[in-house]
Amino acid sequence: MYRIHILMAMDSHTIAQGSREVKEALIRDLALAGISDEVKIVETGSLGISNKGVVLVVFPDDVYYVNVTTNDIPDIISEHLIKGRIVERLHYKKAAVGKGGEKKDERLGKQVRVVLKNAGIIDPQSIEEYIAEDGYEALGHAVTEMTPEQVREEVKKSGLQGRGGAFFPAGIKWDFAAGTEADQKYIICNADEGEPGTFKDRLILEGDPHSIIEGMALAGYAVGATKGYVYIRGEYRMSIEHVQIAIDSARENGLLGQGIFASDFDFDLEIREGAGAYICGEETALIESIEGRRGEPRDKPPFPPAEGLWGKPTVVNNVETLANIPQIILKGAKWYRNFGTEKSPGTKVFTMVGNINNPGLIEVPMGITLREIIYNIGGGIPNGKGFLLAQMGGTTGGILIEEHLDLPMTVETLRGIGAGLGSGALLVVDDSQCPVDLVKNFVEFFNHESCGKCTLCREGTGRLHELLSRLTSGRGEEKDIELVQVLSATMMRGAFCGLGQAAPVPILGCLRYFKDVFIRHASEHVCAANKCEMEAVAETIAA
């Protein structure tokens, strides 16, 4: 028995800030203090605090320490672990987030944890800890007591929509695949997360990999698939490692393989690594990549549930979508609908990035307002600056301004203003930034990531880049703005896939709300924010 448990967040953010070194110092100093056998160190996923250096929690006291360095370890040991006094200078006043919607602490605002219920609480490399939190109970219940139709019915009733960004009803997608006759069907987990500002999937894969495996097995049972692939970005080394450990231990425990829970259901999984291509997040490009080719999107229809991987019916679901499934099967569609709104049920994981005091990962019910996210949970904008704009859903996301701060964040309300929830990345931009410079940055990204298959996207992103470079360097003219508009509208209508169709969304959004700023760049060659390197700008500002 251990007297104290120390949970250490070992995710990509904290490792980049030295958590491995701190852990080594902790092990060493605990031994020096002679209390190694009283304290257990548990590595876990993100604790939801991402920019405060190394984070650890001391249990059972539930005390969070942030910005911990190797030099602080002796104090934590002698003061807290031995004398029971909290080290105030490192203390972060935040309580653990309640599971299943029970709030423990008002300071957390509206955060609830369904998808992230285990992340940062269990050791992601331990199947025992996942099982102790009701893990694999949903799978056991489904394969022994439910028919595949009943599983699909429950998911349909829950109203769960695909969390990859398209928000297509998950249960209906499953129905399509279930209704196609074939000797082999596949489940693919789309973990090719590459949308700038998005790291929700990464932290689920790193912090709770078994929830994905269980979700995929349930999907397999529901549609009649016996084989699954987890397609993970090649850059996500830690995610690949954790998912592989989880697959191996699930197999050893008979939770993957032949005759799961002594039923006649067989299901097995394999990881496929990406090799660096944003476009592979598009489901048919992803399938092309697994088939060993360039990741270029396919013509649709046929859609993957009819004809997907190696020509067989295939369901492609996002990581977050799959992480919801075990909860829905275990607790029921009705419970799931306690969260969110009628048309957008459930919770949504957002990543808050950009000019915000508390960047990081949050899970909130659908329908929360932008103001609550930015000012209550996100802690507002740093350095006393004002709010210029927010971009919801990644670099292809729509632009939101001051007047949208009180709009409930749901699929339907955002659609109404030409935006969307997308990947859930929320980029907050303060008023010291320049919208024209920002649009140039977006366009650079699209130009780099366009796969080159269709002319409109390949050439269109290139020409947009030229036009924006002119506007941001003092060589622009007013007719360039018009060209940007016409080209954007043409790409939206004519590009082959979602990349080219969505790329113009933030461009047109910025043009709609900041037209005057664009005009000043074009006609007066002035960047008031002083972000664009214009030859004439220095004198104008001085004057």
Binding site: S12, G194, G292, G354, G360, T395, F442
Partner: protein
């Protein structure tokens, strides 16, 4: 071991995997540092996939390279979340310190400078990656200090 034998062995390792080309190229690149014409020709012969298709794949994905690179590959992010947190100053200073532009390798073959798409650690933006190690909350000064350490490591091992 001769080049051909190594490539053949890598291909044979994946006999049981359906459509393993990307895995084969990853392993081959790990072995030889980059995917030269000779190497790709052998992969084509052994896998019976047309060389043009293999070249298409090798040049499509950003983790593959058909050119020789430096000992340390620096991948800088300039996507929007890093951009609004001052990545441009970091990029400019890094270029100045190394004396090369993006896509280039230093003369001593120690560094190659590249852009990367979002690495998903935006809460500590701006960020960069040197080989497999990730660095966050960068300032121009911090970036240069990190690269100086690598330079010392890189030259002392040669």
């Amino acid at each position: 071991m001769p080049e051909i034998t190594i490539i053949d062995e890598i291909v044979e390792n994946y006999n049981d995997v359906k459509t393993p080309l990307i895995y084969i190229l990853k392993d081959v690149q790990k072995e030889f540092g980059y995917l030269s014409d000779n190497v790709l020709t052998r992969v084509a012969k052994k896998t019976k996939i047309p060389l043009s298709d293999i070249y298409g794949v090798a040049t499509f994905y950003s983790l593959f390279t058909t050119k020789e690179k430096g000992k340390y590959i620096i991948r800088c992010c300039n996507n929007a979340p890093c951009h609004v947190n001052g990545s441009k100053e970091v990029l400019d200073k890094t270029k100045e310190y190394l004396g090369i532009d993006f896509g280039e390798t230093t003369k001593d073959k120690i560094f190659t400078l590249e852009f990367t798409s979002c690495l998903g650690i935006c809460a500590v933006a701006p960020v960069m990656m040197v080989n497999d190690d990730v660095y966050g909350n960068l300032t121009p000064e911090k970036a240069v200090a990190i690269l100086k350490d690598y330079k010392l490591k890189g030259t002392s091992n040669v």
